[in-house]
């Protein structure tokens, strides 16, 4: 899990963030969503009270930006199959119905705000495109699972 960031100042903050916060989240999509939601959309600055208390606000912000970029890169370069698994894992970790989350992500394009501020334009394009396809695949699977379930239920009802 190398970052490539040689900044001595933020390394301990990055380690802290990884071990205490990010490690507890189920998968990279969850981590990406968490980090993106910790960012102020108006200023682009991240906030984390615990990390800012131990280090400083500036260091915490930089550490979060570095982790955000790292996780985003991993998701850009992972295969579509792995991305689908990551998304599935994230969706099942939420308390919402999978169909609703998929619908919301697809129609509102909620995943667009998960892109780090400083990232390659092409990498962002690849990520958005892959998520779009992954969501379509998950939705198809979900629909067919629902139909199978309904069929099985009807079959059982008629059988009785």
């Amino acid at each position: 899990m190398s970052l490539g960031v040689k900044n001595v100042e933020i390394e301990p903050a990055i380690r802290d963030l990884r071990n205490r916060t990010l490690a507890r989240l189920p998968g990279d999509v969850s981590r990406l969503v968490y980090l993106a939601s910790s960012r102020d959309l108006n200023t682009g600055r991240y906030s984390h009270d615990g990390l800012a208390f131990h280090f400083s606000e500036n260091v915490a912000c930089k550490a979060m930006a570095a982790c955000h970029a790292e996780i985003f890169n991993r998701l850009v370069y992972c295969s579509l199959e792995e991305l689908i698994e990551e998304l599935r894992s994230y969706i099942s970790s939420t308390a919402e119905r999978p169909g609703d989350v998929l619908e919301s992500w697809k129609h509102l394009g909620s995943y667009r705000v998960t892109i780090p501020s400083e990232c390659d334009e092409m990498a962002a394009e690849i990520f958005l495109s892959n998520v779009k396809v992954a969501l379509a695949i998950l939705q198809t699977r979900q629909e067919s699972a629902f139909q199978d379930g309904q069929f099985a239920w009807r079959y059982r009802s008629h059988g009785r």
Partner: protein
């Protein structure tokens, strides 16, 4: 006879340029510059392409293998459409970047005292090859889709890597001389 003079002039010029190139090749054989071609990085576990190679990521066949086996045809079509858009966007970006590099090189080349004609010609030739490959690929991808163009993309990536190495070396020489 006077009508033939321009042709003779052009032929003579080409002959001189070829002779100079051959001489340069002969002279530089001993002190030959090895062009720096970036080493291929090992892909990290679980990833389909090495980090930093967005072109490889786009044209990687792993995703297509997965999609062609596991998802319905309408999603396969959607995947191909998405990859076509990405591939063309990447090729346009590569073309623009290479052109910008070449412009920067042309601007800086005047500062090099010991200009290697052979290297310059090779560079110019490779630049034209990259531009041609990018344009051909864009047309080909529009017509056939991105998954059947992997070989040509490989060639483009290799030529771009060579050009990048050559530009880096020339720029290092420019900064060393200034």
């Amino acid at each position: 006879m006077s009508q033939l003079l321009p042709y003779l002039g052009v032929s003579l010029l080409l002959l001189v340029v070829s002779a100079l190139w051959a001489r340069q090749l002969f002279l530089t054989r001993k002190t030959r510059i090895e062009l720096i071609v970036p080493q291929k990085r090992e892909p990290t576990s679980g990833s389909t392409a090495s980090h930093g190679d967005l072109g490889e990521r786009i044209f990687d066949l792993v995703d297509w293998d997965f999609v062609s086996r596991n998802v319905p045809s309408e999603i396969q079509q959607m995947f191909l459409r998405e990859r076509t858009i990405l591939a063309i966007s990447w090729l346009r970006r590569t073309r623009t970047r290479v052109s910008l590099l070449m412009r920067a090189h042309v601007a800086a080349v005047g500062q090099i005292a010991d200009l290697h004609l052979a290297t310059e010609l090779k560079l110019a030739l490779n630049y034209l090859v990259v531009l041609t490959l990018c344009n051909l690929l864009i047309a080909w991808i529009w017509a056939r889709g991105p998954m059947r163009t992997r070989k040509m993309v490989g060639q483009t990536l290799r030529t771009v890597a060579w050009l990048r190495g050559a530009f880096e070396q020339l720029m290092a020489r420019v900064s060393a001389e200034t």
